[in-house]
Symmetry: D2
Subunit: 279 residues, 4 copies
Amino acid sequence: MHIKLGDYVFLLSSDNKTFLVRVKEEKVFGTHLGNINLKDAIGKRYGEVIYSQLGKPFILLDPTLEDKMMKVKRLTQIIYPKDAALILLKAGIQSGMTVVECGSGSGALTIALASAVAPAGKVYAYDRREDFLENAKKNVEDAGFSDFVEFKLRDVEEGFDENEVDVIVLDLPSPWEGVPSAARSIRGGGRIASLSPTYNQVEKTAESLSENGFVYLDTVEVLIRKILVRTGKTRPFERMVSHTGFLTFGRKAIKVLSLEEGGDEFKTIRPQFDPDEQS
Amino acid sequence: MHIKLGDYVFLLSSDNKTFLVRVKEEKVFGTHLGNINLKDAIGKRYGEVIYSQLGKPFILLDPTLEDKMMKVKRLTQIIYPKDAALILLKAGIQSGMTVVECGSGSGALTIALASAVAPAGKVYAYDRREDFLENAKKNVEDAGFSDFVEFKLRDVEEGFDENEVDVIVLDLPSPWEGVPSAARSIRGGGRIASLSPTYNQVEKTAESLSENGFVYLDTVEVLIRKILVRTGKTRPFERMVSHTGFLTFGRKAIKVLSLEEGGDEFKTIRPQFDPDEQS
Amino acid sequence: MHIKLGDYVFLLSSDNKTFLVRVKEEKVFGTHLGNINLKDAIGKRYGEVIYSQLGKPFILLDPTLEDKMMKVKRLTQIIYPKDAALILLKAGIQSGMTVVECGSGSGALTIALASAVAPAGKVYAYDRREDFLENAKKNVEDAGFSDFVEFKLRDVEEGFDENEVDVIVLDLPSPWEGVPSAARSIRGGGRIASLSPTYNQVEKTAESLSENGFVYLDTVEVLIRKILVRTGKTRPFERMVSHTGFLTFGRKAIKVLSLEEGGDEFKTIRPQFDPDEQS
Amino acid sequence: MHIKLGDYVFLLSSDNKTFLVRVKEEKVFGTHLGNINLKDAIGKRYGEVIYSQLGKPFILLDPTLEDKMMKVKRLTQIIYPKDAALILLKAGIQSGMTVVECGSGSGALTIALASAVAPAGKVYAYDRREDFLENAKKNVEDAGFSDFVEFKLRDVEEGFDENEVDVIVLDLPSPWEGVPSAARSIRGGGRIASLSPTYNQVEKTAESLSENGFVYLDTVEVLIRKILVRTGKTRPFERMVSHTGFLTFGRKAIKVLSLEEGGDEFKTIRPQFDPDEQS
């Protein structure tokens, strides 16, 4: 596991600043604590140290999924690790699956999806903006997940090429416009996840999901509270990110139930009960 | 993708109750809406419907990671999906990695870890209680992840057999007792994650991590707020799970820096800044 | 400050149960720790102890505003102390003021309002349901605030009798129906506060407030997180009340500004910036 | 209610900026939207408008308690309205009461306490720093509450002059050092409230309260989540103040119970149960 030319390293300074860089022979990387010759990292192991020209130490770490997501070049607001993490788990995304992402933006979530389907699955990432798509493609490449992602320049209303998709993720201003396309491309039992910042979007999306055969709807938001841990004076941080977006999940039913069979009951937008109370 | 004998299905009733069951030829499964002959599911696809003897419909879904975690047989408090999700992502657990879990409890987190390292990695799950270990083993088997987990009956102070481990997860009453063992078994740059309900545990764990060469410490808690989405009357749920535990993360440095090299600075328990502010 | 016949006492048992009772000569009060002769309290001071017939101690406390609010007889959902507290402060309710409350429900907020305007002000409490009004009246009487409250059986659309009101509080299913009446009865600079559980209500209320000359609109929700403090094992409680309602505040402008004067800008529903950032 | 010389007005600009100023004959007040001749306000009513020399409108409002607290001149971190509001209500502070505040800082909470005891009670505000005390005195005077506050330059260990105090509020780095003094000066049934940013302080304070005869201990934190209300796109704000401090409350018992009488049970630091579950 020695670092070699072309590897990505996550540099940590003694004042907790971090830098995601690629090791190149000739590259000098400037930091607030002096310049670093990146070739100094070659042959070292992760966890070891290199020094800037000012003699300041930097620990060489291997970037995690979170690091890769947070360090993408941003042309758009990104989906944060806290939200991506819950999507991966609640949508049940696993190695080998086929996933469609619509509204790939800067590709932060694309990276997380690709990481989850690797080494045997595929993510199809749609966006209508060519500049976003090019940037996302570059970010996914830098994160090392190009093999697991295919990008497509397309408007959501035109639908998706894929069928029997396991999971579809919508990150759109009007997610309900993508729901009918998603309903056609998703397999029975497949999961949909939609992200939206406003309550209004959530309402319209939930209605559309219900009308298009999605059941077991569940809308949540994820709050991360950071704790400042110092011996004898531990407390929560004073500020936090209090909102990024609401996450709405559903699963595809393929039998359309008649009224007599209880179809209306399933169509009711009835949120999942607290899973903690279901055991 | 037709359901066959031996498959697990996640049954959804029209009133949003769910049941995780295994399809067996002869099995009759009792619910509040009547008995179900599970063999009726055979040959159907996920998303289709079977009926109870009372004529009530149940949608056949394939269980997600969340479903499998929530439906384990519990001998202990389990680690909830919200926390497991963030651990997977922040600890950068990927297919092919070697992970040690100490304090496997009822195996809910073990299932999540196994799902993340599959199909090429391995989870070594330690617990000191034989009854817990047997139950966890059964739960992991039911979830379909036995190939990726090896269970070991062992007390944390005795250390771990593995070396160059990518990620170690501690779920212990006294996590600091496991930190020295973890520091020996983890590779440089490897991640540790520890879960504890009290801030006192967090303080002692963070101190121990710092003394044992872990850097970039970060303690957070995850709050999930559920939204009751109904057209024209959408609001947050009135009750929520407000605390399960604090999650503490760190990464292993292998060079012990001298004072002159800034060693003390890295040893300072200095929490990671808000990642949202680091871009 | 000795307790005398007719006083209210707040009894605290050793297992932290509480009872709000009125001291009567003959009254025997039943608890899970035995019966109590309330006349035993007579002549004692607050902070002293009386015993049940089983010899169990109960500490005699004087009820606070919170105790009185929480122990009202409830025919409706009550407004909780956390919300009432912020209303009193943000609406700037002080001794001597005239306050209108519309939708007095079980009277819990009425008690808080009365306490704030005493000893020189007045609360006019409207409700359209006679049974609610009678119950609220009794609750306010028990809390000792009858002198400061006048109850009126009235539908909100009929308007309020009072003029130049300092503060108006709306707790209605359709608060926007009460806004025009409120705008007529409130003085310039007077404050309005409205409580609603759903975001849909909040949107419509904010629109109505803006159209009726209210400015400096501000919508918040109050979350109380309880901490389980035990030496060496302190942590947040595991469950919490995560939603009661949203609180919307505004202030009455009396000059209607023309377009040229910037009237539209004031009418914009522009939420107050974080007061913490305004210093 | 016409504005006259010497009155305070809270000026609101069309872009939601606010200014708390005193009306003086000759004063010109500079804003980002031009200078304002404050004498223009004389004779107008609250809710009316004055114009800057650039022709920009400013609405004349009467400052609420919140405005007065937020606009104090700060030499220290202040206690925020959200926390002050809950203290007033949970400590049951009412007109006519005697309140001791120790650690008056910049006087923001002093103003809230004074407002609550007015017109018949008194706040005794202690601080050990003369510069803080002078600043707080000036802030309380500006807020119009001088008649209800007496300031004392004193270290907490020297105790308080007052006896039979209804409520004592501690805002100290080491609140436990003030608890014995508080226990001597408070009346039976009287309430104590202590504010501290860290968990560690809360633990030590709760222990000290329990040892000094305080019962019914309750520790909470107050979180205010602001909602950005805009028709069709309503959502929570993206950032929030996530921590100011923990509030710990207790009530004074005066009978020291022997072991046989259950004294140890009352001394147990047993937090109050969720009041919502007590009804």
